[in-house]
């Protein structure tokens, strides 16, 4: 195990976050705060409770998930795409690090950033809305699991992308709609039954539902299914990364 190698990549990526703190921390925090102000305080007071939870509190888990997914993907994809783009990837490829170690460094750093960001957003939300966390262990578990899973997903996108546009396409065109339609702002039960069925094909539904259960003990789908689906997606990402390194896809010719 090349411990120093993993640490070097991890610290390098964390240093990048410190350099770009405005973009990678402050900007998602501010945009999430705007949601809280508009939907939580302003409009939220006129909305009815959902499952006996005030609307402002109800949307917190979904909004945290939104930031978590977007930032995990963008951190991890940028982390590996930039060396590819600038050519400094040669150093990682020629270093005595195994692919597991490369992933630990890049994905570990991206996931750490996301967890930190998620906690900051939760702390900030407290300023606007009163909420409780019924199952703190599961809350943290979902936070970490989702961060790791989507950092892995971002890592895959970063390797696949051969231009800056492709880096943006997946988070903007696919993930954002999935989060908005995944029950961030409403309960799936509120939809007509046909759309309820369609929603079940949206993987983000399971993440938000599970995360919300950790807060308030209510969920759209059973918590076991939520955990299961998250693990399925995590495994799929791991298999994809394994395939990438085994074949050298877009890394080693």
């Amino acid at each position: 195990m090349n411990f120093y190698g993993v640490r070097a990549i991890y610290n390098f990526e964390m240093a990048r976050m410190k350099r770009t703190v405005m973009q990678s921390v402050l900007s998602p925090v501010i945009s999430t705060c705007l949601y809280f102000v508009v939907f939580g305080s302003a409009i939220g007071s006129r909305m009815g409770d959902i499952d006996n939870i005030s609307y402002g509190a109800y949307i917190i888990p979904g909004l945290v998930m939104l930031s978590l997914l977007m930032q995990s993907i963008s951190n991890a994809s940028f982390g590996i795409y930039m060396p590819k783009f600038s050519g400094t990837i040669y150093e990682v490829l020629s270093a005595p690090v195994s692919y597991v170690e490369v992933v630990l460094g890049y994905v570990g750093a991206a996931a750490t950033k996301s967890v930190i960001l998620g906690l900051i957003i939760l702390a900030t939300a407290r300023l606007f809305v009163d909420y409780e966390v019924l199952h703190p262990f599961w809350m943290v578990a979902f936070l970490v699991l989702t961060s790791v899973t989507f950092s892995l997903f971002g890592f895959i996108i970063g390797i696949w992308a051969d231009g800056f546009e492709k880096l943006q396409i997946v988070p903007m065109m696919i993930v954002t709609p999935l989060v908005f339609l995944g029950g961030t702002f409403y309960s799936i039960d509120m939809l007509p039954s046909i759309w309820q069925t369609v929603s079940l094909f949206n993987p983000v539904v399971y993440l938000i539902s599970g995360f919300r259960w950790a807060f308030y003990g209510v969920s759209d789908v059973h918590i076991g299914i939520s955990v299961g689906m998250t693990l399925v997606f995590l495994t799929a990402c791991m298999l994809a990364v394994w395939y990438i390194f085994k074949t050298g896809y877009r890394l080693r010719s």
Binding site: F3, A8, E91, L93, S94, A95, R252
Partner: protein, 306 residues
């Protein structure tokens, strides 16, 4: 002694079917400076990339410092430092952080004294807290060398190290390479500048169309393939070549004031004596004469155009 780099029957075919290397066999001795020469696209960078682990090999076996580069890639890669051709740097990092990062990446515990020494040797110490993007091209090149030396490699690859570098830096770099060799580091450099190989290398390999066509001690190569030339400045103009001389490999300059005689340096020197005797017999006087050996550049051009 065991070679530091051993390449056996190495072939590389890229995904698009292009065969970049064909059955390469090469051994590089510990502590020598080996220059790999070849025209653009001959396979120099592919060969280096395979040894360093950046490109996968298609067939064959490569060992670095006695370790198989596939099965024992950790030990093999730990022994290698690479300075690639392109100036690829982390623009936003400071020099110190970038060089320290490289050391960690190669599995070595932090050692600020070593990093300090490397930076000082490369005249980068004053710039250690500067972001790399603020440095000049030559300074960036030094940073890349510092990164490659950060983990104290046994083998150093320099891929076109002096391309686009000013004279001062080139001299500095040659000096640095000599010092490294004194410390027992094996150095492999590819270059377009034949004078560089001529100045530095112990041995020279020539690669053409993915094949190694020659590996020789530099001095032997120069004497074996080198042509010598004797130029005689004549006292008076010759209108045409005297018939007695037409059998010799000799030419008359256009103005008729110079005779140019070329011969292999290995060939017995009798040719020169015979020529001078013949000139004496013919009553052709000369003011001055010079001999010179052909440079490696001429040898190289001769080889790759064969």
């Amino acid at each position: 002694m065991q070679p530091d780099i051993s390449v056996q029957h190495l072939s590389k075919v890229y995904g698009d079917g292009f065969q970049a290397l064909k059955d390469i066999n090469l051994e590089i001795k510990r502590g020598e400076i080996f220059a790999l020469l070849g025209p653009n696209g001959a396979g120099k960078t592919t060969l280096i990339s395979i040894i360093c682990g950046i490109t996968n090999l298609s067939e064959g076996k490569v060992e670095a410092a006695g370790h198989d580069i596939v099965r024992q890639y950790r030990k093999a890669r730990q022994s290698i430092g690479l300075v690639p051709q392109e100036l690829n740097t982390d623009s936003f990092e400071t020099v110190w952080n970038a060089v320290s990062f490289s050391r960690g990446l190669f599995g070595k515990a932090p050692n600020p004294e070593h990093i300090e020494k490397v930076l000082k040797d490369l005249s980068l110490w004053d710039k250690r807290n500067n972001r790399i993007m603020s440095l000049s091209g030559g300074m960036k090149r030094r940073v890349m060398i510092a990164k490659a030396l950060s983990h104290e490699p046994q083998i150093l690859f320099l891929d076109e190290p002096t391309a686009g570098v000013d004279v001062e830096l080139r001299r500095d770099m040659w000096e640095m390479v000599r010092k490294l060799r004194e410390n027992g580091v094996t150095i492999i450099l590819t270059t377009h500048y034949i004078e560089e190989a001529e100045e530095m290398a112990d041995r020279i390999g020539v690669i053409r169309e993915g094949q190694i066509i020659l590996v020789e001690e530099k001095d032997q190569l120069m004497s074996k393939l080198g042509k010598k030339e004797l130029r005689l400045q004549l006292q008076s103009k010759l209108d045409k070549m005297p018939g007695e001389l037409t059998l010799e490999p000799i030419e008359l300059s256009e103005d008729g004031y110079e005779l140019i005689y070329t011969f292999d340096s290995q060939q017995e020197q009798a040719g020169v004596a015979r020529l001078l005797r013949t000139l004496g017999d013919l009553g052709i006087d000369y003011r001055d004469l010079q001999t010179r050996e052909s440079s490696l550049e001429e040898i190289f051009v001769g080889l790759v155009h064969e």
